[in-house]
């Protein structure tokens, strides 16, 4: 998963309001494992609506473990996060990580989606979280996040 520092790019997901929380994709031209954005862009219209509805629910401060969750009780995975949906009897996952990148608003949480996984059981493969953790710690990723959020100013809540 290691890559050169210039190969990462973070893109805020368009079409969602940024208030107390924000959502973004991590993009890499060289690493195929960083696949969340590519998969999202190819979702069918209805599936995209379904996933965006789940994004909205999280952005609005909702709780629904069937749709998304973190692992706050596992210290090593405490910043990992997942959005979930089911399609043709397969469980789909967008794995990512949470961070607080705005020094002007320390409470603001950004979820950076990294990878996509498809499986037949609900069980989480720890290697997915391990990879997300590894990516999160990379300097180039932190730099990409800083660049992406430098232009945003969170809007007041609804």
């Amino acid at each position: 998963m290691m890559a050169g520092r210039e190969s990462y790019h973070v893109e805020l997901i368009p079409g969602h309001q940024i208030t107390r929380r924000g959502l973004a994709f991590l993009i890499s031209e060289s690493e195929i494992d960083i696949s969340a954005k590519g998969v999202f862009d190819k979702l069918s219209l209805n599936r995209e609506r379904e996933v965006r509805t789940r994004f909205d629910y999280w952005l609005d401060g909702g709780t629904n473990n069937k749709w998304f969750h973190g692992w706050p009780n596992y210290p090593i995975y405490k910043d990992c996060f997942v959005f979930k949906w089911k399609e043709r009897k397969q469980h789909h996952r967008f794995y990512g990580f949470l961070c607080n990148p705005l020094s002007s608003d320390p409470g603001f949480r950004l979820c950076v989606l990294v990878s996509h996984a498809k499986k037949t059981t609900q069980h989480t493969d720890p290697s997915e979280l391990h990879e997300v953790n590894q990516i999160k710690g990379e300097y180039a990723v932190k730099e990409a996040i800083r660049n992406a959020i430098s232009t945003i100013v969170p809007q007041p809540p609804k």
Binding site: G15, T19, N46, R49, T53, Y57, K158
Partner: protein, 198 residues
């Protein structure tokens, strides 16, 4: 940047129908009522129920009413103006409206909106002895009354009517709990997080 539901009416419809399905599933879980049982009540197959739940974009208002009624629930179609003309923020989740209605003591008619009641915000305690004295801050009579319009800005409203017996005192001022509401009692009320009547 507009919200994704600004792209088309179908996008907007999907989102609000999905919010409705979330409420429906939550009720099914609390009842509890299985998909098969709901299917039986609706007179459709279990597959059709799965289809409704998994693809809310095709839901009609008629089907929403049918589903809600099967669970003993009702539906309101609420139009609201949140000042977001260009739909940059997306729709407000229907669950938020439900919770607000419940927190307001579940008013059933327009008279219920005018009943004397104690309403608290996170910052101030107001009493509502009807429209004539609407918004007079309790125990703080020297402060200016808050107009009904300004009350819209008060967030996190807690209707004390449902939770606290004092609110049912329609002869405001006649009882110890409301008439002799003192600064000390108010402080205790706030210390308790507004959840216990001193």
């Amino acid at each position: 940047m507009p919200h994704w539901t600004a792209r088309s009416v179908d996008d907007f419809l999907y989102r609000i129908a999905a919010d409705f399905i979330t409420q429906l599933e939550s009720k099914m879980k609390s009842e509890p009522l299985s998909k098969a049982e709901l299917a039986q009540k609706l007179g459709v197959s279990k597959g059709r129920v799965s289809q409704i739940i998994n693809n809310p974009g095709n839901l009609t208002l008629k089907m929403m009413i049918k589903c809600a009624r099967c669970l003993g629930m009702k539906i309101a179609v609420v139009a609201y103006d949140d000042g977001d003309r260009e739909n940059e923020r997306g729709p407000i989740n229907s669950e938020i409206f439900r919770v607000c209605w419940e927190n307001s003591g579940q008013p059933k008619d327009f008279w219920a909106l005018e009943k004397p009641r104690w309403v608290a915000s996170t910052k101030q305690l107001f009493r509502f002895p009807g429209t004539a004295r609407l918004g007079q801050p309790a125990g703080l009579t020297s402060q200016p009354a808050v107009s009904p319009k300004d009350m819209k800005t008060v967030t996190t409203l807690l209707a004390v009517e449902r939770n606290f017996p004092i609110s049912r005192d329609e002869t405001l001022g006649a009882s110890d709990s409301s008439g002799n509401w003192s600064a000390g009692l108010e402080a205790a009320w706030f210390r308790s997080g507004g959840l216990v009547v001193p």
